[in-house]
Symmetry: C2
Amino acid sequence: MKVAELDTPVLLLDADVLAGNITYMKEMTEAAGIRYRPHSKTHKSPVIARMQAEAGAVGICCAKLGEAEVMAAAGVDNILITTPVVGESKIGRLLHARNTARIAVVADNADNVAMLGDCARMSGTRLDVLVEVDVGQGRCGVRPGAEAVELARAIHRHPGLEFAGLQGYQGRIQMVEDAAERRAATESGLDLLETTVRAVEDDGMPVPVRTGGGTGTSPFDLGRDTLTEIQPGSYVFMDSRYGGIGWPDRNAPPFGQALHILTSVVSRPAADRAILDAGLKAASCDHGPPRIADLENALFEFGGDEHGIARMEGGGEVPLALGEKLRLVPSHCDTTVNLYEQFMIVQGGNVVDVWPIEARGRVQ
Amino acid sequence: MKVAELDTPVLLLDADVLAGNITYMKEMTEAAGIRYRPHSKTHKSPVIARMQAEAGAVGICCAKLGEAEVMAAAGVDNILITTPVVGESKIGRLLHARNTARIAVVADNADNVAMLGDCARMSGTRLDVLVEVDVGQGRCGVRPGAEAVELARAIHRHPGLEFAGLQGYQGRIQMVEDAAERRAATESGLDLLETTVRAVEDDGMPVPVRTGGGTGTSPFDLGRDTLTEIQPGSYVFMDSRYGGIGWPDRNAPPFGQALHILTSVVSRPAADRAILDAGLKAASCDHGPPRIADLENALFEFGGDEHGIARMEGGGEVPLALGEKLRLVPSHCDTTVNLYEQFMIVQGGNVVDVWPIEARGRVQ
C-alpha cells in the first residue's frame, strides 16, 4: 500500500529514520562509555523497545506501572518505573508484573518505601528501589544530600528492599533552546546528584545506578561520569520542539524527524485558508501547534477538535487542493503518540508494516 | 467496588448527574418545540447515544466518519456527520456504513458533492447531503446566500443525492462567557442561516433540516424557529469552561458536572506542593488546566505528561496526604474523554458499571 492511499489523519513512522536514530544513540553512548535506558513513554511500543534492546540499551524506562505491565507482558525485560508507585493496589500489581520481568521503581517518601518493602517481603521477594532526588525539576524527589541519604538508608535496611541507586532527572530543561543555558542547567543538576552520590557512599552504601538525562541534555550528560545511564525518550521520533533547539558548537546529534501526522485537505472555503482533518484529537497542543512539513511558509492553526487551518505566512493563497494529503511534524511526540492506536511504518512512500501502540492510554 | 478503591487516574461518570442532564435537554427542547440531535463527539459512547435516543433525541451527530461507523455498528440510527467526507476511500466507507444505519453528511464543495453523488449512484443508492454554511465560524462552509443556493442546487440535481437541508454551526462562540455577547453572536449566525434558508426555498428547494447550535447557545437557539434541531454535545458531561459561562437573566440551565478525573497524590516533596498522578496524558490542556474539585482554593498546574502539581492559591501548606484521592473537573470534556478507554459509572460512592469509550481515537 502507498502512503498516499492511507485514510487520514494517521501516524506515519519512517522506518529508516527511526533505525538511524536508534543507531546514533547507541554510538553516542558507546563512545562515552555510558549505558542508556530509553524512555518508552515516548513510543509505548514493545516492538520499538525490543529494537532499542537489540541496539544495546540496558533496559527501558516506563513512566507508569501500566506501561511496565504492557512491556513486561510483551517480553521486554529490565524496566525502571520512573515515577512513584503508591498504594497497596498498585504495589500488588507491581509485584505481580515482576513475575515476568525485572522491574525497579523509584521512591521519594519513607511511608511509600515502608509499604513497598512490607508488600515485597510478604510476597517473599526483594524489590529494587532507587531514590528519586530533585536536582532542579521541582516536582517529585527528596532534596539532594542528607534527605536522600536518609531514604537510601531506609531502603537499604528494609529486608524486602534492595537500594539500587539514585535518579535525578530534569524534564523541564530538555528543550531549553539555548545550548549554553541548557548545559549550565544540566551541570548544576549533575553536581547536585554527584554530591548526593558521595554522601550516600560515605554513609556506607554503594550507588550502583545513577540514572537521569534526556534527549536534549544527552551531549552534556555523556560529557561527564556522574550518570551510569541516561534516559532519552524523544530521540527515536523527534518533534518540532526538539528539532528547534540549539546544540553545542553547532554539533547537533543527527536525530531525524521519524514521526509525522498525515492529514488531508477537507475544505477549501477561501483562497487564503485550507481546512485539514487533523485537530486537537489528532495532534497534541501542549507544546503549541504542529508544523506543516510539506508546504513551505504554511502555518498550522488549531480549528477545534477535528480541524486544522492552514494559512500562508503573511496571508496569500494556500496552494493546496481538496483531498490533497500533507505531513505535519508533531510539536510534542509523546502526547501525540498517546492519541493513536498504531504507527503506520513507512519506507520510500510505501506502508511496510503496522505496529500497535500497545501502552497507549496506560496512565495508571 | 467503592470509587475510593479505584486505581488512578481514571474517568468517573456520575450516573445521576448524567441522567439529569439528558432529561433537562429533553425538556428544554420539547418546551421549545425544536428537535435535538446530540453530538456524540463528546462521549464517543453508543451506550450514551442510546440513552439520548430514549430521551427523544432525533438522532446523533458524529464529527468523523470513524465515529459514525462505531455508532452504526452498535445499532445507533439516524446519524449526521458534521464534517465533510472527502475522497473515494472514505466515501466508500460511508456508503458501506449506510447499510446498517441512516447516515447523512454535510458538504461545502462542488467537487466533493459530485464525487459523493457519483459513488452513491454507482452503489445504487441516494445519499442525504446537507450544505454546510459558514455563519461566522470561519472554518468550513460555503458563504451564506448565493453560494449555498448554488451548492444546494448541485446536490438537488444529482441523481445520487438528496438535498436534506442546511447546517450552520459556530463552535467558537459556545463558550463566550458574557451571555449578551454570546446571544448577539448566536442571533447574527441564525440571521445568516435564515437568509440562506429563504434563498434556497425561493430557488424552489424545500429545506427540511436546519441544524446547528450547541450547549452554550442552546437557550438562544431555542428562542427562535430558525433551526429545526440543535446539536448540543457537552451538556451530557459539562466541564470547567462551560461551568463558568454566564446565562441570560441568571437563568442557567441546570446542567451538572457529571464527569471527573480521579487522581491520587503520589509525592509530598514539600509542604506547599502535592504531586498528582494526572498529567497531560490524563487531562486535556487545550482549554487550560483542570480544576481541583475536592479541595477549595487549590490550583492545578500541569507537571508534564504524567504529573500534576497541586498548590494552594497564594501559597501555604497543601492539606493532602500521600495516597489521598481527589477529583478534577476537566477543562474540556471532549478532548479529555478522548484520552481514555472507559468510563467508570459511579453512584453514591460506588462503581456501578463500566462503559467502553468505543469511538475513542476514531479521527478518520
